[in-house]
């Protein structure tokens, strides 16, 4: 069960009566759909096609809702967002060849962020496989490096089991994507075999609880620390460990930093919160990361956008690393105290094992001082073009705590993470590890369907929005109440920022003066469109877009000169973040 913000999930119990009534399966395709039903699938995101057609035909008789996407990339992103918001696997379908390759970006994205996604792809009939048949690609070969496992279904009698297993695998241990490739003859073939209940393969073992002696040692190291911090990663949210984390941090009064995927795991309005660290994280979080002497890192893989150069990452700290995936231990940063297990369970173990709270009054004061010294600020003289941070902040202020924020990738993503105040898990839906432009439009669709009672807003860049703009047609058709806010700087702004900072301002291919009028484009799709240019209109435009019952697009023309700060240059030292352009030259 998900710890998701406020709205209880609709009961997911399979309808008993219905289950009794269900016709026995007679084809492989029906067995595939039955496996999905058994696993509690609500939605499938996909696009039709020849090789997957038998599965769609079987879906015709199912209560599972199919959402036709405008592009398969959108199907995998929507499924990914669904997985983030609900905690249960999102499912996407595509046909063979180009359908499958279009899914790939979303699968890779899910893999980097450990999001539970199941991709079912059509394949040419078994006899044609390997012949370069029409719309054939080696989907298993292409996706193997970006899934927990890719299955090639070999027989109608077992295809349902393959899907059940893929489902269980995506959802257990460290979550992630799985794929089942479905040759057309296998799905068309006759079978009366009902799929087994979802179960992980026997070679897949997950250790849930950490070794008690190791927990004890780690707890003592933490209790002895003068400058302790908790670094809370995306794994905390995935393990439904946010409340355990809150209890732990509050009881032992340890400042909490999140990673970017960990946003929402600890309330940013709490005194102990230093918000998030990394390349564009807060100055105070990066100061604390750099100066801590003991870090309890939970469910994080120490991505380089977080650590900067590892040589300068928390260089004085003993590292207690909690992770469900043993391969993350000492992969990028050496763990002095490795604790393998489920974040929620290990946090409980640690809670009980702590001999005392660390004596860290001075350190906590120091952290508060850093908040004063390095506040998250921006200039807002009224005569300047609109500042993106202002739009994000105003929006954050008027929306409920459980509002879900989705983003594309770029500067807007950073502002949306910096200037929105997150207090609940599963309310921040963004592409971290892969950094996929175009994630926002379809992700918002998946998020809204996953949480119809929560408000959904997507901050997008003009470049990112254009990459998946066709998804608007889906939002309109499904009448999804999503507010898209394009922080429009007529550029791929993040690239331009790097060109200005590190390539002497040679703005090769980063300025987009030819972009469409997004408000009109929105209207052409059947959504509501707004154009926003002035400070004076911010509040009323946000309100009008929120009030509109359906998808709306605010084309916010922001100061094209605005850049994202603080900034740790790539591979740099977190403590040496630049607060402004001038600082970059000092680094």
């Amino acid at each position: 069960m998900s710890e998701r913000a406020s709205v209880p999930r609709a009961e997911e119990q399979p309808d008993e009566e219905h289950a009794d009534e269900a016709e026995p399966v007679s084809t492989g395709a029906q067995s595939v759909v039955r496996a999905l039903e058994n696993a509690g699938t609500e939605f499938v995101f996909g696009v039709q096609g020849g090789a997957i057609m038998p599965v769609y035909d079987a879906l015709y008789d199912s209560d599972i809702t199919h959402v036709t996407m405008a592009h398969e990339q959108g199907a995998s992103h929507a499924a990914d967002a669904y997985g983030i918001v609900t905690g249960d696997p999102g499912v996407c379908f595509a046909t063979s060849g180009p359908g499958a390759t279009n899914l790939v970006t979303g699968i890779a994205d899910a893999s980097m962020d450990s999001d539970p996604v199941i991709a079912l792809t059509g394949q040419v009939p078994t006899d044609f496989v390997g012949n370069d048949a029409f719309q054939e690609t080696d989907t298993v070969g292409i996706t193997q490096p970006i899934t927990k496992e890719s299955y090639f279904a070999s027989h109608s009698d077992t295809v349902g089991d393959d899907v059940s297993e893929a489902f269980a695998l995506a959802d257990s241990g460290r979550q992630g994507p799985t794929l089942v490739d479905l040759p057309k003859d296998v799905t068309q073939g006759e079978t009366e075999v009902e799929p087994k209940a979802p179960e992980t393969p026997d070679t897949y073992e997950v250790q849930e609880e950490a070794d008690d002696a190791a927990v004890q040692e780690a707890a003592e190291a933490l209790a002895d620390a003068d400058r302790p911090v908790i670094l809370s990663g995306g794994g905390v949210i995935k393990a439904e460990a946010s409340s355990a984390l809150r209890e732990f941090a509050k009881e032992y009064e340890i400042p909490v930093i999140t990673t970017m995927p960990g946003i929402g795991s600890f309330p940013e309005d709490h005194e102990l919160s230093l918000e998030w660290a990394g390349m564009h994280g807060t100055g105070y979080a990066n100061m604390a990361i750099t100066n801590t002497d003991c870090m309890l890192a939970i469910g994080t893989r120490f991505d380089d956008r977080l650590t900067g150069g590892v040589d300068s990452f928390a260089p004085d700290a003993d590292i207690v690393h909690v992770d469900i995936d043993p391969a993350e231990i000492s992969k990028n940063v050496y763990a002095d105290y490795p604790l393998i297990g489920d974040a929620r369970k290990v946090l409980r173990q640690l809670f009980d094992a702590m001999p005392r709270a660390p004596a860290a009054d001075e350190w906590r004061e120091q952290c508060q001082d850093w908040k004063e010294e390095y506040p998250m600020e921006y200039d807002t003289p009224d005569d300047e073009p609109l500042k993106p941070q202002y739009v994000v902040e105003r929006f954050s202020e008027v929306t409920p705590d459980d509002t879900i924020v989705c983003t594309g990738v770029g500067q807007h993503q950073m502002w949306a993470s910096q200037f929105w105040e997150y207090t609940e898990p599963r309310t921040w839906v963004s592409s971290h590890g892969l950094g996929t432009m175009g994630y926002g439009v379809p992700a918002a669709i998946g998020a809204k369907l996953a949480a119809p009672d929560q408000e959904v807003v997507c901050f997008d860049g003009d470049g990112s929005f254009l990459m998946t703009v066709q998804g608007l047609s889906v939002a309109v058709r499904e009448n999804l109440d999503i507010t898209y806010v394009i922080l429009n700087n007529e550029a791929v702004g993040m690239v331009r920022q790097w060109q200005d900072g590190f390539y002497e301002g040679r703005r090769m291919a980063s300025e987009y003066p030819w972009i469409p009028q997004f408000d009109k484009l929105a209207e052409a799709f059947g959504a509501r469109g707004f154009r926003l240019e002035d400070y004076g209109e911010v509040e009323e435009t946000i309100q009008a877009a929120r009030d509109y019952d359906g998808p709306s697009v605010i084309d916010a023309h922001i100061d094209p000169g605005e850049n994202v700060f603080p900034m740790v240059p790539s591979g740099g030292d977190n403590g040496l973040f630049a607060l402004e352009e001038d600082h970059l030259e000092m680094l």
Binding site: V140, E149, Y204, P315, G575
Partner: protein
Amino acid sequence: MPGPAPDERMRPEGRRNSQGIRVDPEAEVTHEPRQAVLSALVKHRPGVLAEVSGLFSRRQFNIESLTVGPTDDEDTARMTILIEEPEPGIEQAKKQLRKLVPVVEVTELEPAAVRRELALIKVDGEKPDDVNAVAEMYGGQAVDASTDSVTVEITGSKQKIDAAVDAFQQFDVREVVRTGAAALERGPTTLDNDD
């Protein structure tokens, strides 16, 4: 107004090396690569070799040889993988291997493990007796001969086969094929029962 500039901020003393290990700034620790023999039991099914070799290439593990073949259990195959990496890389390779779904068991064999490689060496056939004599020196034997060529089979350690190939150069080596190492732990220990 922004707070202190980068060079005026509180700074820690420590440092880590490129593997993320904290180091004494005076005595930088670097890990020299060493050779490790990994032995893995895997499900015997299509695609498993691609999965394992793909893992090694995309994670940039420096692989020396990889052999695979069936075991006494028809559902299981066994791979022997020689890698040369610094210590943390070897640990990572083992953990990443274990993560693959078709992998049942992974262990690193002791340096003393039994390790053998097979080579077939085809040389010029003008002096078959001399070729035979050299083959015998390396415990090998001729397995095929024609008027033009002799093919010799040698089994042994990598070093022994390297040396044999060198020795055969005098007869004009035309072709060599080597299997890469297969290895088993000495004594009664097996991959199934040791943990």
